[in-house]
């Protein structure tokens, strides 16, 4: 039983029986790009040790490790919340035991590209809330900004520390059939998933303990420490700043992560009702010893619900007066309110231009070519071949409202066309990328499943990028939707020094013999 054999059989099966609708792979007839195996079924260099190890284990032992991992996840209480019938239900986090491997050399390039991108995006956000030179210089049309659902006029004129607004970003990367890695979208408001990235590593370390001992797989668990020092660096000038994580509450789909990060950083997890803004425009928490000042808030509540005085007046999740306290410089908020203006799916199309404009550099990571339905010529192009595009609403996340043209029924296509005609500003369209695959254990067999990758980028005085990211996998055969809310699973992601590189191989051998193996 080898990965290569299963790969061939898996693809046969998915094509002939389990995919009634045409799929990405069949649509453009190019072979899929697999992250572990090359076109000849041979392991890619960085994945060599893993593939050999899995082949050595055999399918039943691999399944046993999957089962053990599932039990670990249940026992550790790693969950996410889904909504069904208006209720939040706690589900065990879906995890596939076979990791995704990325060559460390490739990762260094991606890391640079992400750093470049976030530097430019932050310059952009600071600009649009202040002088708007980007509009004045004709780089971004004024109507795009005017039409942005995430532009917050209440934030104009604010100057957060270091000119940074989007401190924490989760960007979604995908790899097309030719191996090119694209940035699919940037999540600059309240990106989630980093806790699962860390927990997946914990689970996979148990499943593949022997490989971790012999290979240089880059560690990931310094993220919370980096996040904490970033948050501390944002504090107003006080001794020992008080930092807190703000959550919408237990029923939020990412509550597990909010709690995880608070615990891992050793800071309180607060809800809006635990806080109030005093007459002195400082933020306070209701503690057992009375009100205590809070200096930095890592908020996981969306902008609109953050402060009923400034934004949505009916919100019960926020803190009245919070924006006032922030503008007065008495509390730092990460991400700053208004950061979402740069993760608008329409604005996305301009990001390469923004990189050139602010940094004078060519983008290191490409954007997916994006058609903007607000422009008539581009809209005509989309409507003419709707079946060849992925159509996305500009103001939704989590895969909601997404239409994949070649998997849609004719009714769905007609509905989408009507929706685009009705409100063109709301829609963008991108060619259907094939999305690379990783061998995945499905019902006792190894089959190809599509994946994306969400690395997390921290920006403050300096930048930090997670080593790898959260690999999300579409567990249904042929599906391209990887969101956990819609049947997606996850994998651990290993950034591995290519073991054929002599220096690395030598140090791994040395480490192994030092450990007495």
């Amino acid at each position: 039983m080898t990965i290569a054999d299963d790969r061939v059989r898996g693809r046969e099966r998915t094509r002939s029986r389990e995919r009634p609708a045409p799929t990405a792979a069949t649509a453009d007839s190019r072979p899929l790009w697999d992250e572990l195996l090359d076109a000849d079924g041979q392991p890619r260099p960085a994945a060599g040790a893993l593939v050999e190890h899995i082949r050595g284990l055999g399918l039943s032992e691999l399944q046993a490790r999957q089962d053990a991992a599932d039990l670990d996840i249940l026992g550790m209480g790693i969950t996410f919340t889904v909504y069904s019938d208006g209720r939040g239900i706690d589900r065990a986090w879906p995890f596939d035991v076979i990791p995704r491997v990325i060559d460390a050399a490739e990762w260094r390039t991606i890391e640079q590209g992400l750093t470049q991108r976030l530097t430019a995006l932050n310059r952009f956000i600071d600009d649009v809330y202040n002088d708007q030179e980007v509009v004045r210089d004709g780089v971004l049309p004024a109507e795009v900004l005017a039409g942005s659902a995430n532009f917050r006029p209440a934030c104009r004129g604010a100057h957060p520390a270091y000119g940074v607004w989007a401190h924490i970003c989760g960007s979604d990367l995908v790899r097309d059939a030719d191996g090119t890695v694209y940035v699919l979208e940037d999540n600059l408001r309240v990106p989630s998933g980093v806790s699962y990235l860390l927990e997946n590593r914990l689970v996979s370390k148990r499943a593949f303990a022997d490989l971790f001992a012999h290979q240089s797989i880059q560690p990931v668990d310094d993220y919370p420490d980096e996040l904490l020092s970033l948050l501390a660096s944002l504090a107003p000038d006080v001794d020992e700043p008080t930092i807190a994580v703000l959550t919408p509450g237990l029923h939020n789909s990412a509550y597990f992560e909010h709690s995880f990060l608070a615990q891992r950083m050793g800071v309180p997890l607060v809800e809006g009702r635990d806080l109030f803004v005093g007459p002195d425009d400082h933020l306070y928490a209701r503690t057992i010893g009375g009100p205590r000042r809070v200096d930095v808030l890592y908020r996981r509540v969306d902008d609109l619900y953050l402060d009923p005085e400034a934004f949505e007046p009916t919100s019960l999740l926020g803190v009245p007066g919070l924006l006032r306290a922030w503008r007065a410089g008495h509390v730092a908020i990460a991400n700053a309110p208004g950061s979402g203006v740069a993760d608008d799916k329409v604005l996305y199309a301009w990001v390469p231009d923004l990189i050139r404009y602010y940094l004078g550099e060519e983008p290191l990571l490409p954007n997916v070519p994006t058609l903007r339905c607000c422009y008539e010529d581009e809209r005509r192009q989309v409507l003419a071949d709707l079946g060849d595009f992925v159509v996305k609403p500009a103001d939704e996340s989590g895969g909601y409202g997404l239409l994949i043209g070649n998997q849609a029924t004719s009714e769905q296509l007609a509905e989408a066309a009507a929706a685009i005609e009705a409100d063109p500003r709301r829609w963008v369209a991108q060619p259907i990328l094939s999305l690379s695959t990783v061998p995945t254990l499905c019902d006792g067999k190894i089959e190809q499943r599509h994946v994306d990758l969400r690395p997390f980028v921290l920006t403050g005085q300096r930048n930090y990028v997670t080593r790898g990211g959260l690999t999300r996998v579409a567990l249904r055969a042929g599906s391209l939707v990887v969101n956990s809310s819609q049947g997606g699973g996850s994998k651990d992601t290993w950034v591995v020094e290519d073991s054929s590189h002599p220096a690395t191989a030598a140090s791994a051998t040395a480490a192994a013999s030092a450990a007495g193996r």
Binding site: L74, G75, M76, G77, T242, V245, G249, L250, H251, S259, F260, A262, Q263, V267, P268, L269, V270, E271, R273, D274, A285, R286, T287, I288, G289, G290, R292, L316
Partner: protein, 317 residues
Amino acid sequence: MLLARVAEQLYWAARYVERAEMTARVVSEHTHLLVDLPTTVPLTWEPLLDVPGARGFVPATTEREVVAYLLADADNPSSVLSSVVTARSNLRSAREMLSREAWEAVNNLYLYVTSHHSEGVDRWSRGRFLDRVIAETQRLDGILATTMSRDATYQFLRLGRSIERADMTGRVLDARAVPLLADLAPGAKHTEVQWAALLRSLSALQAYYQRKLAPMSGPAAVRLVLHDPDFPGSIEHCLGEMATTLTELPNADASLTATEHARRSLTRMFGFSDALHDGLLGLRHDLAAVHDQIHATYFPPVPLPDPVMPSVATRAD
């Protein structure tokens, strides 16, 4: 910095874990007694309903009905099942304050109880279920004691555990000791076996032996459970623990005064049937007063109703 809301969740979680453990012990010991006593002594299960104050309020009389109510009834907020579910849901929103091992222990207790509670109802599998519940709660206690810093988080857990243990111990004495003391012909009902069972259900039998109090005497057993300062299950010890915990917290004066009042009443409590019953009723009220004071000092109302807290905050008294 400990949020008032989180402190309340920790306090209640600790109370519910303790309630689950003590309820499990009481049921476990009563099941043993069934085996120990000759069949000529009729053993009724209804008195156990006095522990949560439910006798006369729920239609349960047979062993199966009473045990199902105490262990596995989701509508009984004090059943082992409900207590564990509530404790876990409270700790879930205070998880960031716990050590990772402590959370996993709570979660495992929850997974076990929610999937095996029906085994507690059948007599043949009951022992195994209850032993596991008791072992898991003790494990949690040990993990908390060895992994948590002695900060306010720990003090609220300890406070909840002590006040619940004092309250439950009083309730068990009232349900089991008061009728035994009132009995005018003790030998006929093998009261010494029943006293030993009562002490065992409070983990007090070994302490009783060690104090060379044998042979078994009802008043001596009651004195141990009420007053012995060195026995960690005695009410005196629990009240002392509450007092030392409170001194570690800010603004504790009023709660300490209420605790001291309960201690003074306790010293006047004696091991005779009627007086004991009245004394234990008084203790229950004193503990409620301490609870109310803790609540008023540390858990002032927040602007919104809490979706996590169970609707039943205290039991029907």
